[in-house]
């Protein structure tokens, strides 16, 4: 079914948050934290816009809209609306609405609240672009935008070094993965010739048949795994908890970290259902699930517990996506929906507790249920969904995913066991988050806890109630959200039939019961478990987080070493490198292609031409045998003058004139530099160094000669010459074509040139004025700029 073209409203919906980001600081200045109310209208409207797609999409329709962005590269700002992108867009804008409200309450009175709103909106726009973009390159741009905005948000509290480090770490990991993704996209584009996702999806086997499946798979995985914090890249997500809680709730549970999962789901018809896919994804997803839950149990900080379970949930999603089994994929979609709702709510609840009680440590919290009844109710609803108990959407998701893993023919048992263990531990965390702070005796907290304002509890309540509501109307949920999304994953229209209550006493129900029993058992032993896991971790000692620091230190050390090696402050080293590379650049292509220019036969020179040629050669010989430096400099001038004479004889008087002046000034200035630097009058280099520089000089000379010969043997394109010859006199009133070009036809070029001359003058002046330290030889002024200018002027 080909996508229908729609108007540009959806494109504007993606850009709307960026506009809101501009307005946010102003509104915040006027209305203080209450600016959240008008600002939340923007995501609410976006939500309404995408809600309009629910009906048509559930009938299997898809839509595209497109605007040219950089048409010469085939880059368009285009959107593709189907089940998957609609679900994500609804999650982003819907949860985003409440996050904005929550941020209004959470950062009340913060001096930089306006900036915070701005960053949140920028992120929202980037995320919407990520899930809606149809064009691979613009998708990548939005992908990296989410990394950059998340950097700004994590590092919002930039005075603390911990948040700076966390921000940098998230940026390096996710940004680096993004670059791998770009490479993957470029390989896809060059292998298939397609740049739009919708056209790729129209012929699903195009990548598998291209012969480049493996590199594409690995590069796309590099992007997805870093973004979705899969083992071994999981460490950045818990560290990102340095961010203010609204950020954690929005980016690190509901949206951004799902970006990787989104990409895997989006590419599933193209990359999935292969042996490689069904090995790598379940293995890494499974490891992530176990590692995440394992690390979560160890924590006592509410936010960190939730962060590690988020890592685990992402692992579960990747594992399910990796099965390529229809029922398991359905479980993945359901779980994605459930997870966004309960985890967003729980993060906000953790933030509210922190905000009102002054601590997030569950060992220091207790008996808050009477003080914060609304928050407590929301926490219960969300936790029950997270624990996977009926009648919540989390329960349905778990049933379906067990059904899928149990029925998966390849590695069903292993995956199922992993899922059961992970879910049991997840239940433990859910219980800990809901029970520890609210039940038991009242523990004195740093602040006298009481219920937060409407801005703070609106989000958790709505999200957790939605998790209940969607489960109560299970059939409709399946029809409107899960079915269309699953259709995107499978690449064909599918309808699902969901029930809240299990229809029969089957394997999934038994597995669920096992999960609950195991979870309850482990919860009673929570403190013991925590100590055990902490002990294990201490025994291991080294983790990817520490590895990251070592990696960064290694890079810094390497660059310092490289700088010492490349830029050692010796002029000669720089000259050898520069000219050595120049020689390689002009010689290598000819050598590699084996195409050398033909050596032209010597024409009949007149005797005076031979004479000038002889003078040039004599000048060079004089340079080589000169005893003192000054003699060498002057001899170099001789050769220059001879060349200037050649220019004169072959009809380039301007060039020749310039060459004379440049040679004269070069000799004068070089001589002055000599006296200035107090160099010894003789050259004391050891023979090997002299031979090396000689070889480099010979290489450059040979290379340039060959280049010149090759250029002159090309057929001459006289279009420009004809143009200038024709119009120089008539339009520009000048007979000297060279000069007319310089000051008139290409005047702006010359303006750039003389700006360079001014800058070069300033730089040389600065270099001369620098007090030379005794241990570092001073640089000589780059007289090459003069020569460069002279050749430019020809």
């Amino acid at each position: 079914m080909t996508p229908a073209v729609i108007d540009d409203t959806t494109l504007y919906a993606v850009l709307a948050p960026f506009a809101a980001a501009v307005v946010a600081p102003v509104l915040t200045r006027w209305f203080k934290h209450n600016a959240a109310w008008p600002l939340a209208i923007v995501p609410a409207l976006i939500f309404a816009h995408f809600a309009g797609f629910i009906g048509p999409v559930s009938h299997g329709e898809t839509f595209v809209a497109s605007r040219a962005w950089a048409p010469s590269y085939g880059v368009n700002f285009s959107v593709y609306v189907d089940g998957l992108s609609t679900l994500f867009a609804l999650l982003i804008s819907g949860i985003g609405t409440f996050i904005i409200l929550y941020a209004g309450g959470y950062l009340k009175g913060h001096p930089q609240q306006g900036r915070f709103f701005s960053f949140l909106f920028m992120f929202m726009g980037a995320m919407l672009g990520l899930v809606l973009c149809n064009n691979l390159i613009s998708l990548f741009i939005f992908w990296e935008l989410t990394s950059i905005t998340s950097f700004l948000l994590i590092g919002f509290d930039h005075l603390r070094s911990a948040s700076r480090r966390a921000a940098l770490q998230a940026l390096v990991v996710t940004g680096g993965g993004g670059l791998a993704l770009l490479a993957g996209f470029i390989v896809i584009i060059s292998a298939t010739g397609e740049i739009e996702m919708s056209t790729l999806l129209a012929s699903p086997d195009i990548i598998k048949d291209s012969g480049l499946y493996l590199p594409i798979f690995l590069l796309v995985l590099g992007g997805a795994f870093t973004k979705s914090a899969q083992f071994p890249f999981h460490f950045w997500l818990p560290n990102a908890m340095e961010a203010p809680t609204p950020v954690s709730a929005f980016l690190h549970s509901a949206t951004m970290v799902k970006g990787g999962v989104y990409l895997l789901m989006r590419m599933h018809p193209l990359l999935g259902d292969t042996a490689l896919w069904m090995t790598v994804l379940p293995v890494f997803g499974g490891i992530t699930l176990l590692v995440g839950t394992f690390l979560a149990v160890r924590q006592t900080d509410l936010k960190l517990m939730l962060a590690y379970t988020t890592v685990a949930s992402l692992g579960l999603l990747v594992m399910l996506t990796g099965t390529s089994h229809e029922k398991a994929l359905e479980g993945a979609v359901l779980y994605l929906l459930a997870h966004s709702l309960f985890k967003g709510a729980l993060f906000m609840i953790a933030g509210t507790i922190d905000h009102e009680a002054g601590t997030r440590d569950i060992t220091k919290l207790g008996g808050l249920r009477s003080a914060m009844p609304i928050t407590f109710a929301a926490a219960c609803l969300a936790s029950l969904s997270m624990a996977g108990l009926p009648p919540f959407i989390g329960f349905i998701a778990k049933e379906v995913l067990y059904y899928g893993t149990w029925g998966w023919p390849e590695m069903g048992l292993a995956v199922t066991v992993t899922a059961v263990v992970g879910n049991a531990l997840m239940l433990v965390i859910a219980a800990a988050v809901a029970i520890k702070p609210f039940f038991g005796p009242r523990i004195e907290t740093p602040k006298a806890a009481h219920e937060g304002p409407l801005l703070l509890f609106a989000g958790p309540v709505v999200l957790s109630v939605t998790g209940l509501g969607l489960a109560l109307i299970a059939h409709t949920t399946g029809e409107l959200f899960v079915g269309p999304t699953l259709s995107s994953l499978l690449g064909e229209f599918t309808q699902v039939d969901l029930h809240l209550l299990p229809t029969s006493f089957n394997a999934p129900l038994i597995l669920s019961l096992i999960t609950v029993a195991l979870g309850a058992l482990l919860f009673t032993q929570l403190d013991r478990l925590r100590n055990l896991f902490a002990g294990v971790l201490t025994a291991i000692g080294w983790g990817p987080d520490k590895g990251f620091d070592q990696f960064v230190a290694g890079i810094v050390g390497f660059s310092a070493w490289l700088t010492r090696w490349l830029q050692n402050g010796k002029m000669r080293t720089y000259m050898v490198y520069t000219f050595g590379f120049t020689a390689l650049a002009v010689l290598l292509p000819g050598y590699l292609t084996g195409s050398y220019p033909a050596i032209p036969k010597m024409p009949d020179y007149r005797f005076y031409e031979w004479g000038i040629f002889l003078i040039a050669v004599l000048g060079l010989v004089a340079v080589l045998i000169a005893r003192t430096r000054l003699t060498a400099i002057v001899s170099l001038g001789i050769q220059g003058f001879a060349v200037a004479l050649f220019f004169m004889m072959f009809g380039a008087p301007d060039l020749s004139f310039t060459q004379f002046m440049v040679e004269t000034l070069s000799v004068v200035i070089l001589a002055l530099v000599m006296t200035r630097l107090n160099l010894s009058p003789r050259d004391h280099r050891p023979l090997p160094a002299t031979l090396l520089t000689g070889a480099v000089a010979a290489g450059v000379g040979l290379g340039l000669t060959l280049t010149m010969l090759a250029i002159t043997q090309q057929p001459f394109d006289s279009r420009l010459s004809d143009f200038f010859a024709q119009f120089s006199r008539t339009v520009a009133h000048g007979r000297n074509i060279v000069n007319v070009i310089i000051v008139d036809f290409r005047g702006v070029d010359t303006l750039g040139e003389i700006a360079v001359v001014v800058l070069a003058g300033l730089c040389v002046l600065a270099l001369i004025r620098v007090r030379t330290k005794p241990d570092r030889p001073a640089e000589t002024p780059p007289t090459t700029t003069l020569d460069a200018q002279a050749t430019e002027a020809s």
């Binding site: 008087p653 301007d654 004139f657 310039t658 002046m661 440049v662 004269t664 000034l665 004068v668 200035i669 002055l672 530099v673 200035r676 520009a732 009133h733 000048g734 007979r735 000297n736 000069n739 007319v740 310089i742 000051v743 008139d744 005047g747 702006v748 010359t750 303006l751 003389i754 700006a755 001359v757 001014v758 070069a760 003058g761 300033l762 040389v764 002046l765 001369i768 004025r769 002024p781 003069l786 200018q789 002279a790 002027a793």
Partner: protein, 139 residues
Amino acid sequence: MRTIIFRTIAPYLTSLMVLFSVFVLLRGHNDPGGGFIGGLIAASALAIFGIACGVASVRRAMVFHPMTVSGFGLFMAALAGTLSFFQSEAYMTSQWLIFHMFDVEIPLSTPLVFDIGVYLVVVGAIGSIALALEERESD
């Protein structure tokens, strides 16, 4: 270098060279020459004068710091291009004003102004390099 002969001849030589450089600059549109070459000649003149009579006297003679001259030249060249705006034409479109004085045709044009800018840039930049190199550490 500071022989009595050289010191006596240097001011005349310098004046002649500067004069010649202006001549080369102005004739550049139709004959070999132009701002760049003129500037180089004038810069050599300054260097020679500096070698003969010391940098201080050159700086006195120039009134402005050479780098100031250079910057002004860049400004002038950029400004020359803006005159075309008054004719609603693109930046750097040449404007010509040709009038007659004593039966001689005198063409004035924005490329000429531009070229004078180039000349000043080169004189200033190269001159300041040369002078700075000639200066001893003391001043």
